[in-house]
């Protein structure tokens, strides 16, 4: 299990014990964290799991793939810190990761 902290747009913080091997999106949904939708179930087909990840741990994330990059380009409020949570797999490397969620996923 890896500790991940989700911070909502309104500043509410929630730390969860995320299961290693699951996607960040699944960890959020399964732990009832609001702000991440994952409408397509993690198929990189909807961009409703958009989140922002910064700081030193961001360097431990897998590189953005082409499909993820294309989906992100169309999302509102995209920044250099933007990722799709369904494309990130939780592992011990990400212990203490801080994930911010946008105001809206639509």
């Amino acid at each position: 299990m890896t500790k991940i902290t989700f911070i909502e747009f309104n500043g509410t913080e929630r730390s969860v014990d995320a299961e290693n091997g699951q996607s960040l999106m699944r960890s959020a949904v399964d732990n009832l964290v609001p702000g991440i939708d994952g409408d397509c179930g993690g198929a990189c087909a909807c961009a409703t799991c958009h989140c922002y990840i910064e700081g030193p741990l961001a360097g431990k994330l897998p590189e953005i793939g082409e499909a993820e990059r294309s989906m992100l380009e169309m999302v509102e409020g995209v920044t250099a810190a933007s990722r799709l949570a369904c494309q990130i797999t939780v592992s011990g490397d990400l212990e203490g990761l801080v994930v911010r969620t946008p105001q809206s996923q639509h």
Binding site: L32, A43, A45, S70
Partner: protein, 405 residues
């Protein structure tokens, strides 16, 4: 006492309705009645990773059981609604129970169309709609087995791709002259036919099933071409019949689904219908639609919930779908029916292209294969009713996002 909601059906739409009601501030009682023995789960993996045995059952759930407990939802698993009295707003259940509602969301979905041929009740014949369906076919879904797939729609083609990867020998029989006949152009259908044949699928178009016979427990599929194909497993994916019977018997308007308005309201007071079972108006296409897609189910559930929460928002979306076959990701936006022009962008041989469908110069839809940028952009162009010219659409030397609208 605050109002209560009864949700009939625990698929994508039913599951989303629960979440959207609570997120929208609804604090009355919510009861979710589902005929399945499972909390709402994702259907797309059933014909992909779950069939392939790569995804444990628990990972299919849309939300964990803790969610429903925390949200104070009364979930009735394995219970069917056997009767509806719309005038008295009451329901009878298969366990003898009764429910009354202030608001009811019909999210009854659909059931697979049965094969219409003699012998369709052979034990080797399976459909693919539920977790139980896949669990039932799994013992016969083993390497070396001969599987006859009837219907080359999304389900049939996805099963064929998994079958090949899993070491089965699939024969696909499609009644129409081409695969994906209801949804794709000859160009795109031809592409998928080549991919499947190249992968080893014995694909036969223009062939239907006349009968299914038995030979020592194996099924013998008799085709209209006169072939007799012995099969360990027959999987039929020949369409979905909307579950409208409950509504119909209660006098609620139905016509290719339960008829609803832009707010998902059906013809009886307090009743909504969402997802695969609903027939709704499309502002974008100027006609009524019944869409079988995850996106439609989720968005209609959100629409119904918003109306119940007193914040109505008309349903207005570009339909979109996806299908994963082999390493190909097909993403479709819009509806192509009635097109008079197809523009191909990219390279079919490289398995990276988009087919744009236009009518009278207006972009209706796109089929994108491994082209997520074109898919996402086209979804916006269709919505805006403003797209690059056909010539630009076909010019792959310009980056998609640089195309002038």
């Amino acid at each position: 006492m605050s109002a209560n909601v009864v949700i009939v059906g625990g698929g994508h739409a039913g599951g989303q309705a629960v979440a959207s009601l609570r997120q929208g501030g609804f604090d009355g009682d919510i009861t979710l009645v589902t005929a399945e023995q499972s909390l709402p789960y994702q259907r797309p993996p059933l014909s992909k990773a779950y069939l392939a045995g790569e995804l444990p059952r628990e990972r299919l759930l849309m939300r964990p059981s803790a969610f429903y407990e925390g949200a104070g939802v009364d979930v009735r698993l394995g219970i069917e609604v056997t009767g509806l009295d719309a005038g008295h707003r009451s329901l009878t259940l298969s366990d003898g129970g009764q429910l009354t509602y202030d608001h009811m969301i019909l999210a009854t979905g659909g059931r697979p169309r049965p094969l219409p041929c003699p012998g369709a009740d052979h034990p080797a014949v399976h459909y693919l709609r539920t977790i139980a369906d896949v669990d039932a076919m799994r013992p016969r879904f083993v390497p070396g087995a001969c599987i006859v797939i009837v219907g080359a729609g999304y389900i049939g083609l996805e099963v064929a791709a998994v079958a090949i990867k899993h070491g089965l020998r699939p024969v696909v029989l499609e009644m129409a002259p081409m695969v994906l006949a209801r949804v794709a152009s000859p160009e795109v259908a031809g592409f998928f036919e080549n991919v499947h044949r190249g992968a080893g699928v014995d694909l036969r178009t223009g062939v239907a099933v006349s009968a299914i016979e038995d030979r020592d427990g194996k099924a013998v599929v008799v085709s209209t071409a006169g072939d007799r194909i012995e099969a360990d497993l027959v999987v039929a994916g020949v369409g979905l019949l909307p579950n409208v019977e409950l509504a119909q018997a209660a006098g609620i308007d139905c016509d290719n689904g339960i008829v609803v308005d832009a707010f998902c309201r059906a013809s009886a007071s307090g009743v909504y219908a969402v997802g695969d079972c609903s027939n709704h108006p499309s502002r974008l296409y100027g006609r009524r639609l019944r869409l079988e897609s995850v996106h439609n189910a989720l968005e209609q559930a959100k629409t119904a919930a918003a109306d119940i929460c007193g914040k109505p928002l008309a349903y207005d979306q570009v339909p979109w779908f996806w299908s994963d076959q082999y390493e190909l990701k097909l993403q479709t936006a819009g509806l192509s029916q009635g097109y008079d022009q197809v523009v191909i962008r990219g390279n079919m041989a490289m398995r990276s292209f988009a087919a744009f469908y236009l009518k009278d110069g207006r972009l209706l839809a796109v089929d994108a294969v491994n082209r997520p940028a074109e898919f996402t952009l086209a979804k916006r162009w269709i919505w805006d009713r403003k797209a690059p010219s056909p010539q630009q659409l076909g010019d792959d030397s310009i980056e998609a996002k640089a195309l002038a609208v």
